[in-house]
Symmetry: C2
Subunit: 346 residues, 2 copies
């Protein structure tokens, strides 16, 4: 035994994201701060406007920390929204109860491009949330920052809200130069926003491409792969070496290509990813995923069997246990506890 | 030169589906009979109720033949709807203008199972449509019959209409025995319905699994692969050797497995299928697909480039040119003509 000072251990989540295997996978859940928690519902009620809530750093930090107090998650993800970026780029964004997000008229590309460099500063509140959370969180638990991916955010900006993305895809076909300008502006502002998050305490960054599904190969290349590459390049050019997880949801058939072409450090998989595809991705990059939130809500023996199956099929390589999509608001807390007990042994 | 009697050539569509290569791919479009044609809109206006229109064999035959008169399609598909089966199994089905299909309360499994053997006879009108069309169609052009796949039809039956399928997937998790009974009843009635279509003149049969997307691996096996296998087995047991095309839409990551495990003669691919995945499937079975209907509607140089790309990437093996999803109702007729000219040289 030597007389060394105690060192802070690297959070398990980060060592696995760095490619190491762990005796059991680290675990966190997408949307782990949310309506399935009564303490979240009580906190949210104090600021009904959702954007205002996201930009209230004290409250957003509290929302971020709530699931960490209740459950043995290995990582925390900052409470924010992917539509803060369009707002910072000059487009109105608001939420109507029970209806999802609404966006005002798409600003001109000149207006959008003029706001790229100031977008991160406009979202300083998210950095403050991260600082508060990092201060409060135990050192062995990691803190994740995030942003929406350019194509996904562009679909909301072009369609004015949630949609089947057909207007946005038509825009990509009919106005390819304008689409490229929009995606570049989104990639650049997103990179600066993520860099600010890293400087504020985020130890990993996640890019949510929630709407990668249904894209033909050439569009997947133009709308997903290239903008993700641009974000990473810009982030590294800013001097940020924080690891990045890419989540191209709904595109398991392109997952290996994505893992090889985009310099992310981890790839998140969705509910519809075959075991073998995950293993092939895992041969290149650590993977994260992919329990069906509907099964988490349903519970029962099928849930236990599936969790065991996932641990067996992917536990042999670097693997972070997670859902394949956000937790549903009517998920019983007991089901979350049950899965965490199986994964962590706690 | 010998003195043989002239023989009827095998339709190009059928010889490619039998695994032969053609000098150019045969072509047809999903939903080629439809609202983008003014003559269809005029015909539909004569019978506003959609189900009544589908079951009026003279009118449905006319709708089927309209695109064949206008365009050099190599195959025709009978005008009908995937929701005729739930209707034949005792569930109310109706269409509200601009809202899509609506279904009444799900009948009990006993009621559904009691109607399986009579379902094909209840849909005799679709057989009559096929007989009329086969009589009118040139012999070198093939006639396709079809049905919805069990899981896809079950989603409508359980959810009461179009949906995100979450209620149906939850049903699969929470009531697996009941789901299996429902899928078996659907597979059996569908097999008998397809057998009746084959006896009425259909030379190929297509199974539309429109909602295969988002399924975890174990559910893809239970909800898609097994019911499709059951349909094919039953169809062959009925003495029908008509070739079958399976279309598991939204599941390119499972396409190779589907092609290997289900004894279909061809696999239809959707818009989001990578070139390489298509080639791997093509090594096992003839493929069909997969132009983006949004690109067909958009037109322009991007359309020409994509058509050429598809011909090059898949034209080396048995390949049937088609869309990756149904044609959109506001598609310009000139765009259809343009693509057909490029594919057929006509």
């Amino acid at each position: 035994m030597t007389d060394q000072a105690p060192t802070t251990p690297t959070p398990k989540f980060l060592s696995v994201l760095a490619g190491q295997r762990a005796e059991r996978p680290p675990v966190w859940f997408m949307r782990q701060a949310g309506r399935y928690l009564p303490e979240y519902r009580a906190l949210r009620a104090t600021t009904p406007d959702f954007i205002s809530f996201c930009l209230d750093s004290e409250k957003a930090a509290e929302a971020t920390l709530q699931p960490m107090r209740r459950f043995p998650f290995d990582a925390s993800i900052v409470f924010a929204d992917i539509l803060l970026i369009p707002r910072a780029l000059g487009q109105d964004v608001w939420f109507e109860a029970g209806e999802g997000p609404k966006l005002g008229e798409l600003p001109s590309l000149d207006v959008i491009e003029g706001k790229v460099d100031g977008a991160a500063e406009a979202l300083r509140a998210v950095g403050n949330t991260l600082s508060i959370v990092r201060e409060a969180l135990e050192p062995e638990r990691a803190l994740i920052g995030f942003a929406g991916a350019p194509w996904t955010v562009a679909t909301y900006m072009i369609e004015g809200g949630s949609s089947d993305r057909s207007k946005a895809r038509t825009f990509a076909y009919e106005q390819p130069e304008e689409m490229e300008r929009l995606l570049n502006a989104l990639a650049d502002s997103t990179a600066l926003y993520l860099a600010m998050q890293a400087r504020s305490g985020a130890q990993a960054l996640k890019i949510f491409e929630s709407w990668a599904e249904g894209l033909p190969e050439d569009l997947f290349e133009k709308l997903v792969i290239r903008p993700h590459q641009r974000i990473i390049s810009r982030l590294r050019a800013e001097g940020i070496d924080t690891p990045v997880i890419g989540f191209p949801r709904g595109s398991a058939a392109y997952a290996e290509r994505y893992a090889m072409k985009v310099d992310v450090q981890g790839v998140a998989l969705d509910t519809a990813c075959p075991a073998l595809t995950g293993q092939r991705v895992q041969a290149v990059k650590p993977i994260q995923g992919a329990l069906d939130p509907l099964l988490l809500r349903a519970g029962g023996e099928a849930l236990d069997i599936r969790v065991q199956q996932m641990l067996e099929q992917w536990g042999g390589g670097p693997y972070i246990f997670n859902l394949g999509h956000g937790i549903l608001q009517d998920t019983p807390i007991a089901h979350v506890e049950r899965v965490l007990a199986r994964v962590t042994g706690k």
